[in-house]
């Protein structure tokens, strides 16, 4: 990278960070009672506990904005890693069984074993995500012809559908649980609570740090396994670390917001369009842009049908599916 490019990239990074800050303030100011952005700013810089609006901002709106940023960042980074490691532009943890595995495990854990403790939620989600991924990769690799991108995706869809039916069986056999899960199941920022969030945060942090640490090797891997080996990268090791990182990130996202489908397709592709193929840049950019994207989507979800709101997950799936279809048309 030349020096000029470096400065340009740095500027772009700070610019998108500024954009996220704006989206953050906008997200908080919008709601049942519109709060001017200036007041939102004051709530953080000059907080007064006798001011009603300041309390609303800190206690109700801030958590939701934090959920959105964290979920968006973790999903975008997970998607980027997955696409880099599998060298498959359509790879997305929600297609490859991680999201549905995590969701299924959480539902069974809470609904059936009654483990309502919030500390368990990310843990269950992580185990489920790992199991889902293992199942998909296992099936794809034993199919005659090996794990091509297509078999990987089809195996993922089959496993997702399978876990989905297990979910509906669990729900049908235990209907009281269902009414509580209805909105969470479509992926929503409204259901999360601060306790779960704090328990999910370490998972998010660990996943993000791991992603940053292996970003260089993932760039090499994205060029092909031979090339990567030639550059002194051990593909198997990087793949395993990447999988663990994606698992931790997906678990954090599912624990906070439920299964959000296909988000991870959108952001990594947009980022790559501007940034190129260096994962040392893609990972941080994905984290920032992903967080901002989710803030905007969540704001839109609350505005469109105000005073009611749409589940954030439904919007992300619609956008993600459109990008997916477009990718299939453009790349194949």
């Amino acid at each position: 990278m030349t020096r000029g490019q470096g400065i340009l990239t740095g500027a772009a990074f700070w610019l998108s960070l500024g954009g996220v800050l704006l989206a953050f303030l906008w997200h908080i100011s919008i709601g049942a009672k519109a709060i001017p952005i200036g007041t939102v700013w004051d709530a953080f810089t000059a907080f007064r506990d006798d001011e009603f609006d300041h309390m609303v901002v800190r206690n109700f709106r801030l958590p939701r904005a934090l959920f959105s940023i964290t979920v968006g960042a973790s999903l975008a980074v997970a998607g980027a890693l997955m696409q880099g490691v599998t060298r498959n532009p359509l790879a997305d943890p929600s297609i490859l069984g991680l999201t549905s595995g995590a969701t299924c495990a959480v539902i069974i854990g809470i609904g059936w074993f009654g483990l309502a403790g919030t500390a368990y939620v990310p843990f269950f989600a992580a185990i489920g995500a790992l199991a889902g991924a293992a199942l998909v990769w296992g099936i794809a690799s034993i199919i005659p012809g090996g794990s091509t991108p297509l078999t990987l995706i089809l195996a993922g869809v089959a496993v997702t559908a399978f876990l989905g039916t297990i979910q509906s069986a669990a729900i049908l056999l235990n209907q009281e649980v269902f009414s509580g899960f209805r909105v969470w199941l479509t992926g929503s920022m409204a259901m999360g609570d601060m306790d779960t969030y704090l328990w999910a945060l370490p998972w998010f942090g660990a996943g993000l740090i791991a992603a940053l640490l292996i970003a260089r090797q993932v760039t090499a891997l994205a060029m092909g396994e031979e090339a990567a080996t030639g550059l002194g990268v051990n593909p198997a090791r990087i793949k395993i670390i990447a999988l663990l990182s994606v698992t931790a990130l997906s678990a954090a996202a599912v624990a906070i917001a439920g299964p959000l489908g296909l988000v991870r397709l959108v952001i990594p592709h947009v980022v790559r369009l501007f940034i190129g193929w260096d994962y040392r840049l893609i990972v941080p950019f994905c984290a920032v842009v992903g967080g901002g994207y989710m803030l905007v989507v969540d704001t839109v979800a609350r505005i469109v049908l105000a005073p009611a709101e749409i589940s954030t997950g439904l919007i992300t799936v619609v956008l993600g599916a459109l990008v997916f279809i477009w990718l299939v048309r453009a790349r194949l």
Binding site: I143, L154, Q175, L314, L332
Partner: protein
């Protein structure tokens, strides 16, 4: 292989004895499940009672109602649905040359499901012939959308068809979720039972509908067997054999959609039958396309009727929809089948 001694020397007549035997065994298995199915349930009826009812000397009036209005229609619907779905999956797998193609994975079932869910939740529960017709239209519309998005002058068309289908399936799934999440809870619960693929409310109107669909489409399928055999050798050779590959493929996909939509219309999206049944049939024996399709249909019928039997008998008071049972059994079976195929 049967060898017949003839006057001028040996004439070898290729008779797939093995496959015929397996077809017969499958038929027997279907009968066995059918027997269990008509005799088990909350109202006790012995096999003798059922037989007497069927032959016209019922033990009680109650038995007539139960056998003729509940158990027999339900059983026949299960078998027919299984056959249609299995055939649909098999045709799709032949056409796309992909062992994992299945109507419920590529958006056809979702299209049908969306039409029905809208009818139940938004338009206050339509019944009778309207529901199957809606599902049929929904499935075809989804397939048409996928076909339009897939159309392009270059590249691998079956591959794009499947991947576009997955994208469309996700899109339709989001719309279904929206309806289910924000609709009235009581209607949503009834839509959800339908969505899980349940046979608990089938009546003779569904049976008539299925029977007509099966008759029409299976007749069409018989004409398609030659084209399917040619396609098995790959597009180049099929073209060489005088096939208009593109046209034939599109027609066969349409046929596959019709089969799936007919089944989904009757009982909701039953997953995995279309995916798994052709694999099981292929593992049982190798035969020509025609006989293979017969085996696939028998396997599918067996799967769904057995799943329905397990779902309503095995869990006491709770009736588990057949779709959940087929998925719970189907996926492990699929993994075993694929694994066996690999280790050979």
């Amino acid at each position: 292989m049967l060898t017949i001694e003839a006057a001028g020397g040996n004439i070898a007549v290729r008779l797939p004895v093995g496959a015929m035997v397996i077809a017969f065994v499958l038929l027997l298995a279907n009968l066995a499940v059918a027997t269990l199915s008509v005799t088990s349930g909350s109202f006790d009826l012995s096999l003798g009672d059922v037989w007497n009812t069927l032959t016209g000397t019922p033990p009680t009036d109650m038995a007539v109602t139960i056998v003729w209005e509940f158990r027999i229609p339900r059983l026949l619907v299960a078998i027919l649905v299984g056959m249609l779905l299995a055939l649909s999956g098999a045709v799709l797998q032949y056409v796309t040359a992909n062992p994992l193609a299945d109507p419920s994975l590529v958006g056809v079932s979702q299209g049908a499901a969306l039409a029905v869910v809208m009818a139940i939740v938004v338009f206050l529960g339509t019944t009778g012939f309207a529901l199957p017709a809606l599902a049929f239209v929904g499935g075809l519309a989804a397939a048409a959308l996928i076909q339009i998005l897939t159309y392009s002058r270059r590249g691998d068309e079956p591959l794009r068809f499947i991947l576009t289908g997955i994208g469309v399936a996700a899109l339709i799934g989001a719309v279904i979720s929206t309806v289910l999440t924000y609709g009235d809870i009581d209607r949503v619960m009834s839509a959800l039972t339908w969505l899980a693929g349940s046979l608990h409310s089938v009546s003779s109107s569904e049976l008539q509908w299925l029977f007509v669909t099966a008759l029409v489409i299976v007749t069409l399928l018989i004409f398609a067997v030659r084209a399917l055999s040619a396609l098995r050798f790959g597009p180049e050779l099929a073209t060489g054999l005088g096939l208009q590959v593109r046209l034939v493929r599109a027609l066969l996909i349409l046929l596959s959609v019709g089969l799936a939509a007919g089944a989904v219309a009757a009982v909701g999206p039953l997953g995995f039958v279309g995916l798994v049944a052709p694999h099981i049939a292929r593992r049982l024996t190798r035969a020509g396309v025609g006989l293979q399709l017969v085996l696939t249909a028998l396997t599918g019928g067996l799967m769904v009727s057995a799943a329905d039997l397990i779902g309503r008998a095995a869990f006491g008071d709770v009736q588990l929809p057949a779709g959940i049972v087929t998925a719970a059994i189907g996926v492990p079976v699929l993994i075993i089948v694929l694994f066996k195929g690999h280790s050979k």
